[in-house]
Symmetry: C2
């Protein structure tokens, strides 16, 4: 990797949830002001702005939209709930198409007390059920393996290998993986699985942040890149070795950073991205 590429922020994207205190309009303006050219949108923004307005706002700003976050949560104890999840994922796909998002990110879900193997079967069935809709819309479905500390209730898929198995079983060009360094940095198989995803054409997304060594909260204490223990640059190298040309999406949930001035914070993100990713 040349020094020049390391100073290139053209692949930097930011997730709106990173700047939770901001509205979508503020994110759009704030990212543009900081020279950030891509935005991944969280669905909570649609609570205060219509889909049409969101699409117009993003289009006017000329921002690329790698992902709409998040679909998934397929497993449930009864068929009615599973059907509801499938409907919601179809809606998510429609919303993604409307705002020009390349993919939806799937936080696949888990049910406390349900065997993880059963939950994974339901995830596979759920993705299969929405695939025709994704196909008709041209929207990709990116399974995001979540850290094992979320296995109880958020995701029964906790390693790249387990996402890969679903991709292999479904064997569809729209189904792939969103790799978030926060969730998978510890996995001894990470490099091999990234290589394999590259060969299988399933590496759809690459999310960055950092793991704080003294993590104070399981959900909202992610670190800024460089602030923790993840060797992001090495993982980026593995990712790009596969031919990946997608965005590097900054996704930080942090009570600490949500309390800061968000414009200053976005500048810090750009700097940290150049320095540590």
């Amino acid at each position: 990797m040349t020094d020049e590429r390391l100073k290139d922020a053209s692949r930097l994207a930011i997730h709106t949830m990173t700047n939770k205190p901001w509205s979508l309009a503020q994110c759009v303006a704030g990212y543009a002001a900081a020279g950030v050219r891509a935005i991944s949108v969280w669905r909570n923004v649609f609570e205060s702005v219509s889909l049409a307005d969101a699409a117009r706002m993003l289009g006017d700003a000329g921002l690329a939209v790698p992902a709409l976050v998040r679909g998934g949560f397929f497993p449930a104890g009864d068929a009615g709930e599973r059907d509801k999840a499938i409907d919601d994922n179809k809606l998510c796909i429609d919303q993604a198409r409307a705002i020009g998002a390349e993919m939806i990110v799937l936080v696949v879900g888990a049910v406390p007390g349900m065997m993880l193997a059963e939950a994974r079967r339901q995830v596979e069935d759920g993705i299969a059920a929405v695939l025709p809709h994704a196909e008709a819309s041209g929207v990709k479905l990116a399974i995001e393996p979540l850290h094992p500390m979320y296995a109880a209730d958020r995701s029964c898929i906790n390693r790249m290998a387990d996402a890969r198995v679903i991709c292999e079983r479904l064997g569809h060009p729209l189904v792939g993986i969103a790799l978030d360094v926060y969730h998978v940095w510890w996995d001894p198989d990470l490099e091999a699985e990234i290589d394999l995803a590259g060969r299988q054409g399933t590496l759809l997304g690459f999310h960055v942040c950092d793991w704080r060594v003294e993590t104070r909260d399981l959900l909202t204490d992610r670190g800024m890149m460089g602030e923790g223990c993840i060797d992001i640059r090495t993982i980026r190298r593995w990712v790009e070795r596969t031919g990946f040309t997608g965005f590097h999406e900054v996704e930080i949930f942090s009570e600490h950073y949500w309390r800061q001035d968000q414009a200053v914070y976005v500048e810090q993100i750009s700097q940290a991205y150049l320095e540590y990713c």
Copy 2:
């Protein structure tokens, strides 16, 4: 498994850290009063009782001592620190022999910023360095895979498979694995790895507690058996299918339970053990 075996508490052991507010003497008396016949000892108890007194106390009570907890923490940035860790592990082995503990549990360590593969190499070297001492003392060394949320600073070994690799490389009858359901319940390879550990003769310890679905703290919010999402009975079945006849060691770190009456708590543990393990 017959109902009779399910009502049998003869394999129940408790870790002294489970009852952190109690001294060793109180644990010994309290466990005996509740009909618990085995105790795993944490080394912090030696801050307030001599090794000789501890040994006498345990012997007088007729309690079995499956494990002394904990050795490990091998990786370090410089050779001097690594040597110190080796010395401390030898001391731990001596202490284990003195109190008649069958094994020491190794929380192997990790160094923030050190590549996990390098840390694992240092762990293997560290265990190899103390093996002659363990051999001379007849004390087993049980590698405990820790949950991936501890990969930054407590353990570079986060799955049964990764502990197995070290066991295979060292190939010594005293080196094995302590399986704690809290750390490994989420692992899709768990059943297969337990089977394999059984065949390889490396399954040395079996620790139980539960994973609270809303975990409030990464370190001290473990649940009582039955209180969370782990199917402990299924995992016990996998463990016993290998021929494992060791103790089922209750190890719960919980600010919540540490605030309760410890004698009542030990009774609750016995009940929960019979009901959910």
